[in-house]
């Protein structure tokens, strides 16, 4: 009985270790977004985005703090956090998904990532076309996609409707390295 227990324990720990070996993390991932209107252009960048990729299971997760976005004008930063994204209530934006038809051995490939994007407490299914590169065993992902402001229940008062675009363009780039806890 004791031997069985020991064997079971060992095998489970081994399985757990091997899964960690197939993971890579990006701690300084970059995400920017753009809102272009005839009244004003708003752009912001966050270069402390976290992402983790499990290449044996083709899984990916991304998480970022809304407070870490940098804007050109400080008032934009305050309005973004206070009135629109409400970062006191919803401090993070998250994404979790699966890379469709991912081949972990290719040096360069463009694939669709299918998953759920959560912003402002609202989760939406989304598909993102992503360029995946592999250099010296480490992956780099980049791409861009659009989101609709109204999909995430972000209210823009009518008086400011012309200042903020209805579609926000999002760009990202993550450079991964082997994951250690």
């Amino acid at each position: 009985m004791n031997k069985i227990l020991l064997f079971l324990l060992l095998s489970f720990f081994m399985a757990d270790l091997s899964s960690a070996q197939n993971q890579q993390i990006a701690r300084q991932g970059q995400v920017s977004f753009f809102s272009y209107t005839s009244v004003e252009n708003i752009e912001a960048n966050n270069n402390q985005v976290l992402s983790i990729i499990d290449y044996s299971k083709s899984k990916i997760a991304v998480s970022m703090l809304m407070r870490a976005f940098v804007f050109k004008k400080d008032l934009m930063y305050e309005h973004f956090n206070e009135s629109y994204i409400e970062s006191d209530l919803y401090p993070k934006a998250n994404f979790e998904g699966i890379i469709i038809d991912f081949d972990e051995n290719l040096a360069s490939q463009t694939k669709i990532i299918k998953g759920q994007l959560s912003i402002h407490g609202v989760t939406k299914d989304i598909e993102i076309k992503t360029k995946i590169q592999k250099n010296k065993g480490n992956y780099t992902l980049d791409g861009e996609f659009d989101v609709l402001v109204k999909d995430f229940k972000i209210n823009i008062p009518p008086i400011l409707a012309s200042n903020i675009a209805k579609t926000i363009a999002i760009k990202f780039r993550f450079q991964y390295q082997p994951y250690e806890e």
């Binding site: 009985m1 004791n2 069985i4 227990l5 079971l8 324990l9 489970f12 720990f13 399985a15 757990d16 899964s19 993971q23 701690r27 970059q30 920017s32 752009e43 912001a44 960048n45 270069n47 976290l50 992402s51 983790i52 499990d54 899984k59 990916i60 997760a61 991304v62 998480s63 703090l65 407070r67 940098v70 804007f71 050109k72 004008k73 400080d74 008032l75 930063y77 305050e78 309005h79 956090n81 206070e82 009135s83 629109y84 409400e86 006191d88 209530l89 993070k92 998250n94 979790e96 980049d142 209210n155 008062p157 008086i159 400011l160 200042n163 760009k171 990202f172 780039r173 994951y179």
Partner: protein, 307 residues
């Protein structure tokens, strides 16, 4: 038999623990990395004033703030016909933020002809994690100046001289944002006048201000404040000041509408020399509008995403 049962249960617990470790999602792993990041609270108040008194907020480095404060009131038994209100007092203000924590401001009020200046420094900032700092503290030092014309001499040889009157106000503003909607501020205040028209009046006075805001929508909030004077002047009747109003934020422009009994804008005068109580009789009720506009003279550079 008992031994076997224990073994089985241990086995079960082990499997449960291991599977729970393995089922830990990728997002859970990322959550752990964020657990110790601390931010300063932002927007305890939306602008640099509650209504009458300063708020703990200052503008960020390079911001130039232009402000126009109006106060309207009616005089009883007014003779002429005026549009909207009988009297109006306007303060023209300018503020510049040298750093994120340090602001310098100037203002001039046309009704009482008081020029004022102030320095404002943010000493402590409330953090999003309570243990590291649960309130904000901002220090304010103001200086105000007015010229008073004195008529002396006798009926046949009148001579006028003018006297410069200076007053200083030191305030420590303590504020806490209790939740995204509610913020409260308490402001112990020391007022010093360099000279007094009546020698019975104390040159040094103490006051304490209480204020708060509660958000109604994402862009509007209800604000109120009450300033209590500990040792009011004795030579004439004065009242503590009260204000209730609504703030409305429209992009770079902030509009504050309020009802108050305070007529003056400079801290030393409205705190200690408000001669009317808060009620709806003329000329006690004052309708105030503060319009504040921000110009960013320095813009942050945004990094482009690079390879």
């Amino acid at each position: 038999m008992k031994n076997k049962f224990i073994h089985k249960s241990i086995l079960f617990i082990c499997i449960a623990i291991i599977t729970s470790i393995q089922s830990q999602s990728l997002l859970d792993k990322l959550d752990k990395e964020f657990s110790n990041i601390v931010f300063d609270e932002i927007a305890t108040f939306k602008t640099t004033r509650l209504g009458l008194m300063h708020s703990i907020e200052t503008r960020k480095k390079g911001a130039l703030q232009l402000s126009l404060y109006f106060r309207y009131w009616d005089t009883p038994n007014a003779t002429g016909q005026k549009f909207l209100a009988d009297e109006v007092s306007t303060r023209y203000g300018l503020e510049y933020a040298f750093t994120d924590n340090f602001t310098f401001g100037l203002g001039y009020t046309n009704f009482d002809k008081i020029a004022d200046g102030f320095l404002k420094y943010r000493l402590l900032k409330q953090k999003n994690k309570d243990k590291k700092g649960w309130f904000s503290l901002t220090l304010v030092q103001t200086l105000s100046h007015r010229k008073v014309e004195n008529t002396s001499g006798n009926l046949y040889q009148p001579s006028t001289s003018s006297e410069d009157i200076y007053a200083f106000v030191t305030q420590a503003l303590f504020a806490r944002k209790f939740n995204p909607n509610l913020s409260i501020q308490i402001a112990p205040t020391f007022i010093h006048r360099a000279s007094n028209s009546n020698s019975n009046d104390a040159n040094n006075q103490f006051a304490i201000g209480f204020g708060g805001r509660h958000k109604i929508t994402k862009h509007t909030s209800l604000v109120s404040e009450y300033n209590y004077v500990v040792n009011p002047v004795k030579s004439f009747d004065t009242y503590n000041t009260f204000m209730i109003g609504v703030n409305w934020e429209v992009s770079d422009l902030m509009l504050q509408f309020h009802l108050t009994n305070a007529r003056n804008f400079a801290e030393d005068t409205f705190l200690t020399q408000t001669t009317n109580n808060f009620n709806f009789k003329d000329p006690n009720l004052h309708f105030g509008v503060n319009a504040t506009y921000i110009i960013h003279t320095k813009k942050k550079k945004i990094k482009e995403i690079t390879d």
